[in-house]
Amino acid sequence: MKNNVTTALPVRASFGETMRPGKWWIQPVAVFLGLGFFIGYGTWAAFQGEHYHFENYLSPFYSPELFGESHHAVFGPKPSWWLSWLPWSPAFLILWAPGGFRFTCYYYRGAYYKAFWADPPSCAVGEPRKSYWGERSFPLIFQNIHRYFMYLALLFVVFLSYDVWRATFFEDTVTGTVSRGIGVGTIVLAINVILLGGYTLGCHSLRHLIGGKLNVLFDKPVRRTAHDCVTCLNRKHMLFAWMSLFWVGFSDVYVRLCSMGIWIDWRHIFNG
């Protein structure tokens, strides 16, 4: 189909050119700094390979710990097949999944296209490049795999929920007895699951797969209810995206500083 325009269009605006008054650049700069800081911290934390667990607390950057040195490791220590010249951290095995989920997320896509690629820098503001491919050709056509990352992200919510369960058990280092309790770390990890759950369960792809793809939902009450619930969370997707991003980073900081002995984890143990 050719949607022809018969007369001349106005001249294309140059980079940053706009008639918008005020500080329109604040939002893209804030997104750039926020995402940039998180990527920087997350990469640093993933490369550390230590101080990612404290007693029964496990940093969400390292969960599930498939292979590693802590007692959280599912399959034992660092695998022998890991190439010796490659740097090693348990986070390398799993962090690509939640990272891929966020990278291909519809909200983040719109946000980082503006903040990191100025495509456009902001609404009704001129762009630096004349060419544009969109998401219909290589490389951005791969954004269409978002739903596969969503399947994995749902699994991660289950793993992190299990971590919260484990974080309610505390071992007495003197007697070796295990008691139930709640520490600040338990609450930190629980809030992390709630925020990540709100973000993941409000995913646009989940909304589509759970019911949005159907034009008639009346005769499917379970799917209709599920679709309504996902839609409800989807309306706050941006809010959950940022809150969960901040909190997952903070959860790692909390566990890390407790592990390093800088912060003390206050806790209440239920006796009997």
Binding site: M1, L9, R12, Y132
Partner: protein
């Protein structure tokens, strides 16, 4: 008496410039009132398209201080008057004169979208059974007044001039209204992917921001269409399930 200064674009497709006009403001005035006042008192040849003055006809679309808006729904009391207010025509369409653009491209695009194709009637009298919960979703899209502010702010049309490959947010909303209708049986996914450019949308949500009817264009229309296109073209797992269950997606 309060006054406001406007920098109004004057010119045609051959060229033009911003011209400054100062006019008095009265209580309750909207930008369109101010333009009419300028037209009556200082520039009788100023071209403005308008009709209902109630935000329902979509005629008086223009760019107020750089953002696409309906002039009849933009209150002067909401604009800072300490500096000149710029008023210019839509940038995604060819200019005819002053604030009037040629939006006829949109009418041509609309004709090329596969029309509504209902299933066979449910009853002998030729009627269908539909439930409100299924209709609610597409009713949001029917609020569209075709002001084309969303088309104007979309950078694919505005900056990249890809009118031949992309139908724009307005017609993605229109396609969504048809595609998600509980009675519709037409499959528009291949058209959306191949010729209508749904993959060119990069989800900036600018269209949603400027919609005077508050339609959640990106989240409720464009992304669901993108997901349906993924079902059709980019998801081998869905294809496999369809093959096993022999269901059309």
């Amino acid at each position: 008496m309060t006054t406001a200064t406007f920098n109004i674009w004057r010119g045609d497709a051959a060229g033009g410039e911003f011209t400054e006009y100062t006019t008095e403001l009265s209580e309750g005035m909207v930008v369109l009132d101010a333009m009419h006042q300028v037209q009556a008192e200082q520039a009788q040849d100023l071209a403005i398209r308008w009709n209902c003055k109630a935000g329902k006809c979509g005629s008086c679309s223009a760019e107020v201080n750089g953002m696409p808006k309906l002039m009849c729904m933009t209150r002067m009391s909401d604009l800072p008057t300490d500096e000149p207010i710029t008023i210019q025509p839509l940038k995604a369409f060819p200019l005819i004169k002053d604030l009037v653009t040629d939006v006829s491209w949109n009418y041509k695009v609309k004709k090329k979208i596969a029309p509504f194709k209902p299933r066979q009637p449910d009853f002998e009298d030729g009627s269908w059974e539909m439930h409100q919960s299924d209709v609610d979703r597409v009713q949001e899209f029917r609020k569209c007044i075709e002001c084309y502010l969303c088309q104007d702010v979309c950078h694919v049309l505005r900056d990249h001039h890809m009118h031949e490959e992309f139908i724009g947010p307005r017609f993605l909303v229109y396609s969504a209204a048809l595609e998600m209708h509980p009675l519709d049986t037409e499959d528009r996914r291949e058209d959306l992917r191949e010729t209508q450019g749904v993959g060119l949308c990069n989800i900036t949500k600018c269209c949603t921001k400027v919609c005077p009817e508050g339609i959640t264009i990106t989240d409720n229309a464009i992304i669901p269409l993108k997901e349906r296109v993924v079902d059709d073209a980019y998801d081998p797992l869905t294809k496999l399930v369809q093959l096993v269950t022999k269901k059309k997606g």
